[in-house]
């Protein structure tokens, strides 16, 4: 057993919501959360469930409605902005444009809470900047202008800036929002690696359920009704909280695969005989076309998959029709539809 980690963030009876103005409204709570070093935490939840509000509250950008937050053992309320900036750094989904900054100087801004009156950097600052670039794999474009980066590169650079800020906690608000799929995967992989290598706690809000289930140590799932479920991904799936939070008429959470699926009106049941990859992908194709695939043999309507030296062959047996053979999945699908 590992020794007990110290909590970097702890909340107690935290109520989050809009500031106590005219329309004071509580979005979620009470929340009792704990963040430890080395954890990758994914904050999930449908739109409007309060993900951004929670992150803004935890980072001190928004006042607490009621309850307590402590950062590294110190009540957040008593900390001034520069002190918070040494404990907690932030990456946003918005792109920084028109700044005329090059990548090195952008990362260097992470040293802002440590540098003197005029922001002059010392040797330690410069070492931190280089280390942050190395950790995030951005050393290759330190000289480039920030405006010339792709969205994926830009997010990595913003992350490098947060690392240079040298805080035990890094918070990312929907960092994958504008990225393509490979960039999203890479970013999540990078965040995972960072928690292991640096011992930082990383909290990210995201809509990428699949990625969150695969990579996070802890999931905070906001259910849109004011509640937050905290636990390891697998436990939450077993508890059935994903279905409750996300299920709507149009989509359906499949607890077997951890994927969201689009429920279809079934045309007909069909049985499929075969194995390996051809079986899996034939089943997917049939399901997409609205067939319910059963495991047992249905003598009236079934498909036999045979893999041989000449490729894959599909034989369709339907009651009252002669057997049909196909050498191509598309032909099979076209014939069935």
């Amino acid at each position: 057993m590992k020794e007990l980690k110290t909590a970097l963030i702890e909340t107690e009876g935290l109520m989050i919501g809009y500031p106590a103005s005219k329309a004071s409204r509580v979005v979620a709570g009470p929340l009792d959360l704990t963040v430890c070093g080395g954890q990758l935490i994914c904050l999930l939840g449908p739109n409007g469930s309060g993900k951004s509000t929670l992150l803004r509250t935890l980072t001190g950008l928004q006042p607490v409605s009621s309850g307590k937050i402590s950062l590294d053992g110190i009540p957040l309320k008593t900390l001034k902005a520069p002190a918070i900036a040494r404990k907690l750094s932030l990456v946003l989904s918005e792109k920084v444009t028109g700044s005329n900054l090059d990548v090195y100087n952008l990362i260097a801004l992470g040293r802002y809470p440590y540098s003197g009156w005029f922001g002059k950097l010392n040797a330690e600052d410069r070492a931190m900047i280089i280390r942050a670039a190395e950790l995030t794999d951005t050393t290759g474009f330190l000289d480039r202008q920030v405006d010339s980066l792709s969205d994926g590169e830009c997010q990595k650079v913003m992350l490098a800036r947060a690392i240079a800020q040298d805080t035990p906690v890094v918070v990312l608000d929907e960092p994958t929002a504008h990225l393509d799929l490979p960039s999203r995967l890479k970013l999540m992989q990078l965040l995972y690696k960072l928690t292991r290598e640096t011992g930082k706690a990383i909290i990210i809000s995201t809509h990428e359920l699949d990625l969150a289930l695969q990579t996070s140590d802890l999931i905070w799932l906001m259910d849109g009704r004011g509640g937050l479920h905290s636990g390891i991904p697998e436990q939450l799936v077993l508890d059935g909280v994903f279905e409750k939070a996300f299920n709507r008429e149009e989509i359906h959470f499949d607890p077997y695969t951890g994927h969201f699926t689009i429920p279809r009106v079934l045309k007909q049941q069909i049985s499929l005989i075969g194995d390996g990859l051809p079986f899996i992908w034939t089943r997917k194709a049939l399901e997409r076309c609205g067939y319910g695939v059963t495991d047992g043999l249905n003598p009236e309507f079934h498909i036999l998959i045979e893999s041989g030296n000449n490729g894959i062959r599909w034989t369709v047996t339907a009651y009252g029709h002669p057997d049909q053979c196909f050498n191509d999945l598309q032909q099979l699908v076209d014939a069935l539809v």
Partner: protein, 341 residues
């Protein structure tokens, strides 16, 4: 690298300063000029008077106005995160004009801008105060609107319109004013580096110096603001107090200079871009002194061109700054467009 560019700029400013003093409607030999500048007595009293009372104050005003306008433009470009921002573009100098017009037209039928200035210290301060207040008012409006409008070009158009509204307020006032006052005001709008001397030059220097100190204090905050408000906050910056500091210093710089020299265009928007291009940096610790030097140099050059040798008349300084500044603005827009494609 940074130092050697600074030295070259210093040298160029020195040369431009001497050339600026050498040129004028009356020809004075260069050696005599050097004598006067270095404090020696020369035989020709009228030459000595021209240099000490007219040309030297004008060259100093050029240096002060150029530095101040350039730095106020730099601050605005960072604060609004808009490369096309500048005191003359976003209506700040129009706001300053409103302040000046209010003082001028409400001072009565007999007084004019020059007589107010002749009142000495209190009159000069009155104009600077009104001008800076007008500038701050428009700047605050622009800040409010820029929170809602993210598009740079749209913001630019809104700024121009704000300027138009402000200037039409002045026009309404003009319409009901005495003709002498209107003429006085119109002359002021052409912009002039001359006519600032003695006490006024000292006051202007003090105001611009104070504004520049405020900017230096804000230089680290300005760096953080390059990332936008939310990132700046996450770095531990108090965005509200940083904004107050930046608006105060920009209004003092742009307002003070506009009060005494009239609304001078394009220096504020163009110089920061030249500074970034020459020094290849976005750090305000470097850009602020760079803008001071390049702004001073550009203003001296503009002043030299406004009184080209052989010509008896002096062109209004606004015409020259527009001629030199507009191509820079076109270059900035074209380069951004190219980068976007």
């Amino acid at each position: 690298m940074f130092n050697y560019r600074l030295y070259i700029l210093f040298l160029l400013i020195l040369i431009a300063f001497l050339v600026d003093i050498a040129f004028g409607s009356i020809h004075i030999p260069l050696l005599q000029i050097l004598d006067v500048v270095s404090g020696k007595q020369i035989e020709n009293d009228s030459w000595s008077f021209i240099i000490q009372q007219i040309r030297l104050p004008k060259a100093f005003t050029a240096i002060i106005a150029g530095s101040g306008l350039a730095v106020s433009g730099l601050q605005m470009q960072t604060l609004f995160r808009n490369p096309l921002a500048g005191p003359s573009v976003l209506g700040i100098t129009a706001g300053a004009s409103l302040g000046v017009a209010i003082v001028m037209f409400s001072a009565g039928t007999i007084t004019s801008l020059y007589t107010i200035k002749e009142l000495g210290i209190s009159g000069s301060w009155l104009i600077i105060l009104a001008s800076s207040a007008g500038a701050a008012l428009v700047m605050f409006l622009v800040l409010l609107i820029s929170g809602a409008v993210k598009d740079h070009i749209v913001m630019l158009i809104i700024g121009v319109m704000l300027g138009n509204i402000t200037l039409s307020l002045v026009s309404i006032w003009q319409y009901y004013s005495a003709p002498e006052l209107i003429k006085d005001y119109l002359m002021w709008t052409f912009g002039s580096l001359g006519g600032v001397n003695g006490v006024q030059l000292m006051i202007l220097t003090a105001v611009v110096f104070f504004g520049l100190i405020l900017t230096f204090i804000a230089s680290k905050s300005l760096d953080a603001l390059l990332l936008g408000d939310r990132y700046a906050m996450s770095l531990g910056l108090s965005v509200k107090s940083a904004r107050i500091l930046i608006i105060s210093s920009t209004s003092l710089l742009a307002g003070g200079i506009t009060a005494f020299c009239g609304p001078i265009g394009f220096v504020g928007i163009a110089v920061p871009h030249l500074a970034r291009a020459i020094f290849q940096t976005s750090s305000h610790r470097v850009l602020i002194p760079a803008c001071c030097l390049i702004g001073a140099l550009l203003m001296l050059i503009c002043d030299i061109f406004s009184q080209l040798p052989g010509s008896q008349s002096v062109l209004p300084i606004n015409i020259i700054t527009a001629l030199i500044g507009s191509p820079v603005v076109i270059w900035v827009i074209a380069r951004r467009q190219k980068r976007r494609d």
